[in-house]
């Protein structure tokens, strides 16, 4: 058993040595693989971040109730208490008309114009946040109707549409990332297959001699399988480097941008598990590509 492991280790180092012997073509191959793998990875990171933005800024939809201008403070408070009792509602925030005016003045820059109007044209607003269970589109629709029913409410507005659109777009991009990953995975198979084909061609004498003196197909295949695996793994590591580098270059400007929007959003990296998964998948693809290529070639050497 130790002997067996030792032999496999020897072959692994041998295969690695073969790659090192042709540094230029190995480096080229690994770069192409890295770029091919970095594309879906980078997009995956972007989509994941977009998702986290949407969760952070608008985790759940909210309903804005614009109240009738004439109702009194006491009536408003009663309404708030009433809505709070609804099982679908998790939180109600009351923005009195004067606070809304202050905020509008501060943010819009129309402060002077408002002074000229005199009086407050803005209604008080209740911001109602539904519970998680009530956040499905249909439940929300019911809630909006229920809230609108009161004659104290002028307008009930559901801030849902843009959330739905964003989620739909994220789903679409996720699908896109998967498609791209499959396509580029195929590209990886083709690239590694071609590299292995060249390696086989360069060592065809050796392969022939080993088969003539009684080497099994497994023995002949082994170094090429390892080579394919190594190429896949190194390509994946290079891809991870490219993605990290791009993230590092982008993180500064993105944080500046986020600050301008009053957010402390930080660009997230690929994460350990997806990165490990990438390495495993790329290694497996390399192994499979090599296996197919060597298999086709070996048929020639053993009469059947």
């Amino acid at each position: 058993m130790t002997n067996y492991l030792l032999r496999h280790l020897q072959v692994l180092f041998f295969s690695f040595g073969q790659l090192v012997r042709t540094p230029l073509s190995s480096a080229l191959g690994i770069s192409v693989l890295g770029i091919a793998l970095a594309l879906p990875c980078g997009l995956y990171v972007l989509v994941t971040n977009a998702k986290s933005i949407s969760l952070q800024w608008q985790g759940r939809p909210q309903v804005s109730l614009f109240l009738n201008l004439e109702i009194t403070d006491a009536q408003t408070r009663a309404l708030v208490e009433q809505i709070k009792k609804y099982t679908e509602v998790s939180e109600v925030k009351y923005v009195p008309a004067h606070a809304a005016l202050e905020e509008f003045k501060a943010l819009s820059g129309f402060g002077d114009a408002l002074e000229a109007i005199g009086g407050n044209p803005l209604p008080s607003v209740l911001i109602v946040k539904p519970t998680e269970d009530a956040s499905t589109p249909i439940a929300l629709q019911h809630l909006v109707e229920k809230l609108h029913d009161s004659d104290k409410v002028d307008l009930a507005q559901l801030d849902l549409e843009w959330v739905q659109r964003l989620h739909a777009m994220i789903r679409l991009s996720q699908r896109g990332v998967i498609l791209l990953a499959v396509l580029l995975g195929l590209a990886v198979v083709v690239i590694i297959s071609n590299t292995i084909r060249l390696a086989i061609f360069n060592r065809r004498d050796e392969i022939e001699i080993i088969s003539l003196i009684g080497g099994t197909e497994a023995f002949i295949q082994r170094p090429f399988l390892y080579a394919g695996w190594i190429l896949g793994v190194l390509g994946a590591l290079f891809a991870l480097m490219l993605v990290s580098l791009s993230l590092w270059l982008m993180s500064g400007p993105i944080e500046d941008l986020a600050k301008l929007y009053g957010s402390n959003f930080e660009l997230k990296g690929l994460g350990v598990r997806p990165a490990a998964l990438l390495v495993v998948i790329a290694g497996t693809l390399g192994w499979v590509a090599s296996r197919i290529t060597v298999g086709l070639h070996l048929d020639r050497l053993y009469s059947t």
């Binding site: 002997n3 001699i209 088969s211 003539l212």
Partner: protein, 220 residues
Amino acid sequence: MIHFSQVHKVYPNGHEALKRITFRLDDTEIAFLTGHSGAGKSTLLRLITLTERPTRGQIVVNDKNLTKLPRSKIPYLRRDVGVVFQDHKLLYDRTVFDNVGLPLVVSGIGHRDTARRVRAALDKVGLLNRENVYPITLSGGEQQRVGIARAVVNRPRLLLADEPTGNLDPELADEIMDLFLQFNQHGVTVLIATHDRRHIDRLRKRVLLLKDAELIRDSA
């Protein structure tokens, strides 16, 4: 040891390389396989190691019926048969030691055993002091002896040689042939394909003569 019965070999392009070949080579025998070039000598040897499959007929080698031998068992058949090639088929990017040791590495023999047996084989062919050089620095005769050492390092009971002296001058060729005779005296069955009448006349051993794909004379 080797038993051919009614063996035919037809190549896909229709060329008939061997027709109705029947012969027997017993344990510890030595024989020359001769005939003009293209008579089918190489094809016959290739059938014994299943580098090619016969079209019809039966071949038994080392008590194994090759007709029924599955592809996965071919490597184990080849380990029991030492083969010497006209063009040596050495690996020029590896030392003499590594070349001779290759069949042992392929069979999964441990490092220490390999070293011992490689040196024994090199000793037999008189190249013990050259184990660390690369084959390209050796003369043609020496390269062929490396090939022979590789063929016998597994201690096969059967040794095949395809024109082993083809590119050598007569003196070196005789040395190589004498080596095969020595192996035969130690109990190895030997079959040598050669078109060189000189060896046949000099050594006076059994001769199988091929002409136009047929075995026309067996001196045994």
